[in-house]
């Protein structure tokens, strides 16, 4: 039940209505009240209409209510309490500009770079796995790769023909008349460290075996007369040639003068070190 006035009439429950009623009872005009409070008549009208939002912030609403209440001789705490319990009560200002509120989430949590970056990394990883499962690890494979091409180009000119052991290499088309020593030096530089380039030319049929440093058989075959085998493998190479007289051996572009073989035998068995020297 609402409290009653001195004459027994019920008091309004809103602060604005109660102030207006008191002002009218005292015979004070809007204009007079506004002048004594140094306020615009519009501000006073908003206060009496309980339209507090136009006053900006609670500090102004409560301040003006207190001043107005004191001027009219009412209890300021009662009127402020009515305001605090009214539905028109204002909240505290946020102090953050509205445009900044809109910008803030975009600036603070940019997620799209993570999504795009994650997807790119996933596809790259998938592609790499697919390639490796198809081709294996290229740096472990002992078969000659494209890095041997310059070495082969430095080799002495030969008749162009298909070579089974160097099928994947490009055709030999080295320049004619290159000095052997110069080619040897260039070949050594072009080769990876620890690797030796070996070229075998067969004048007659001969069995030949070449094992690399890890004991893997690099060549284990019968060389036909008139053919040529070129290979690159990790030193030291262990070489066995059944008919040493019928095979001309070139190591790192340098032709070996004579192959070491036992007295009265055609078989030659020797090793080639990392620097291309015989052992």
């Amino acid at each position: 039940m609402s409290p009653s006035d001195a004459d027994g009439t019920e008091l309004p429950s809103s602060p604005g209505a109660r102030l207006r009623r008191k002002r009218e009872a005292q015979g004070i005009s809007h204009q007079q009240a506004a002048e004594s409070l140094n306020l615009d008549t519009m501000v006073l009208a908003h206060l009496e209409a309980n339209d507090f939002a136009t006053l900006g912030a609670p500090v102004f609403v409560k301040g003006h209510l207190r001043r107005y209440t004191t001027m009219l001789g009412l209890d300021e705490n009662e009127i402020v309490s009515l305001y605090e319990h009214s539905t028109q009560q204002l909240g505290e200002p946020s102090l953050v500009p509205k445009s900044r509120l809109e910008m803030a989430p975009v600036r603070s949590k940019p997620r799209w770079p993570w999504v795009v970056g994650g997807a790119a990394i996933f596809f790259l990883a998938s592609a790499l796995v697919a390639y490796l499962s198809e081709h294996g690890l290229p740096w472990i494979d002992a078969t000659p790769d494209e890095s041997t091409a310059p070495v082969l180009q430095e080799a002495p000119p030969t008749t162009a023909q298909a070579l089974p052991a160097a099928a994947s290499t490009p055709p030999i088309a080295g320049p004619a008349g290159t000095a052997p020593d110069a080619t040897a030096a260039t070949a050594s530089r072009a080769l990876q460290s620890g690797q030796v380039s070996l070229q075998l030319k067969f004048a007659a049929d001969s069995w030949v075996e070449v094992f690399d440093g890890s004991g893997k058989a690099v060549l284990y075959d019968l060389g036909k007369a008139g053919t040529e085998r070129t290979l690159t493998a990790t030193a030291p190479l262990s070489v066995t040639i059944a008919d040493a007289a019928a095979v001309a051996v070139t190591v790192n572009g340098r032709v070996l003068p004579a192959l070491p073989r036992a007295q009265g035998q055609t078989l030659a068995r020797f090793s080639i070190g990392p620097d291309g020297s015989l052992r």
Partner: protein, 347 residues
């Protein structure tokens, strides 16, 4: 590195390092400390130095009542540091008091409010003092800005908001718009000057000497800034200068009003000067909504009425004006965490 580690065990603080009182606002807890900025020091020549005897309320009770070997001093004067070492010790005491008796020494993030008119040297002294007291992160914010935020003014709007913060040592008036100070002015007049004016008035008119504490009590009980309908009286005791013995006498509120005229006119003059310097658009906003008073000086009776009469503008007193600066600093600390220091033009 150790400061950072200790920071995990510390709270974020907003400190209103005032001339009269120091207030500390702890994030999430509110105002947890409100003590006078007074330190009592005991001289100990035998042990080769000085020792802090008391800080805060306990030290204030000693003001004017100390023996020769104890000095009760205010390390802040006119809103800035007057004694660097003592201020540092006082801050350290307050920060540790706020954190309670913990094993690990606190190392909080601290926002300290400084007067608008303070120089770079004075600001540097406050910053280093806070760092020396154990703070791991210190930012300084101008008092009028913190006062306006603490009072709940809509400072982010593109509208002029005028705040007058009457502290113990300084009074600052500022016009704020879009979270920045457009114009501000400061005068070194505050509650301390009111007390001095009362002491001088009593000595001049009664030939009696009263102390600072008595003067402050007179100001709080019967002080007013505008003639009221009711005249209040207070009975006080002081030393009669001609007889040299304590005497009791009675003062009334009209006498105190007369005594306070000079410092009050200084504050009114600062407000008028600020209104003259305010851009017209913002000035009209202030005329519509009014000036907001904060700080302990806003509690002086009818000071809002005086300013209304002198300026012709509406004037309102903020709720709990004494704690506005510290509360505003705390709110700003939270907003800086959420939106970055750029919101208030800090680096």
């Amino acid at each position: 590195m150790f400061k950072k580690l200790r920071g995990y065990f510390s709270n974020d603080l907003s400190i209103d390092l005032g001339t009269a009182n120091t207030l500390i606002y702890v994030r999430g807890k509110g105002i947890v400390l409100n003590e006078p900025s007074v330190v009592a020091i005991r001289e100990e020549p035998s042990r080769g130095g000085k020792k802090i005897e008391a800080v805060g309320t306990e030290a204030k009770n000693m003001l004017g009542r100390t023996p020769g070997n104890i000095t009760a001093i205010r390390p802040m004067k006119d809103g800035v540091i007057a004694d660097f070492t003592i201020t540092e010790k006082m801050l350290q005491f307050f920060i540790e008091k706020v954190h309670g008796n913990r094993m690990i020494r606190p190392s909080p993030r601290v926002l300290v409010c400084v007067p608008y008119g303070s120089t770079q040297v004075e600001r540097r002294a406050i910053q280093e003092s806070a760092e020396g007291a154990g703070a791991r992160w210190v930012r300084l914010i101008e008092e009028p800005m913190a006062a306006a935020v603490g009072a709940g003014m809509p400072v982010h709007e593109a509208r002029g908001s005028m705040v007058l913060d009457i502290g113990g040592g300084t009074s600052e008036v500022a016009v704020i718009s879009l979270n920045g100070i457009v114009f501000a002015g400061a005068v070194r007049i505050g509650g301390d000057r009111f007390d001095e004016a009362i002491i001088n008035y009593v000595r001049r008119n009664y030939g009696i000497l009263i102390g600072e504490a008595t003067s402050e009590r007179i100001k709080i009980e019967i002080g007013s800034a505008y003639p009221g309908q009711h005249v209040k009286e207070i009975s006080v005791k002081g030393r009669n200068l001609s007889e040299g013995v304590p005497r009791s006498f009675t003062l009334n509120s009209n006498e105190i009003l007369e005594a306070l005229q000079e410092p009050l006119q200084g504050i009114v003059g600062a407000v008028k000067a600020a209104l003259e310097q305010t851009p017209p658009e913002l000035g009209s906003d202030v005329a519509e909504r009014g000036i907001v008073l904060t700080g302990g000086g806003a509690l002086l009776r009818d000071i809002d009425k005086l300013l209304m009469e002198e300026t012709g503008l509406p004037v309102v007193v903020a709720e709990d004006p004494l704690t506005c600066v510290a509360r505003g600093g705390g709110k700003m600390l939270e907003l800086i965490d959420e939106h970055g220091p750029g919101l208030f033009g800090l680096d």
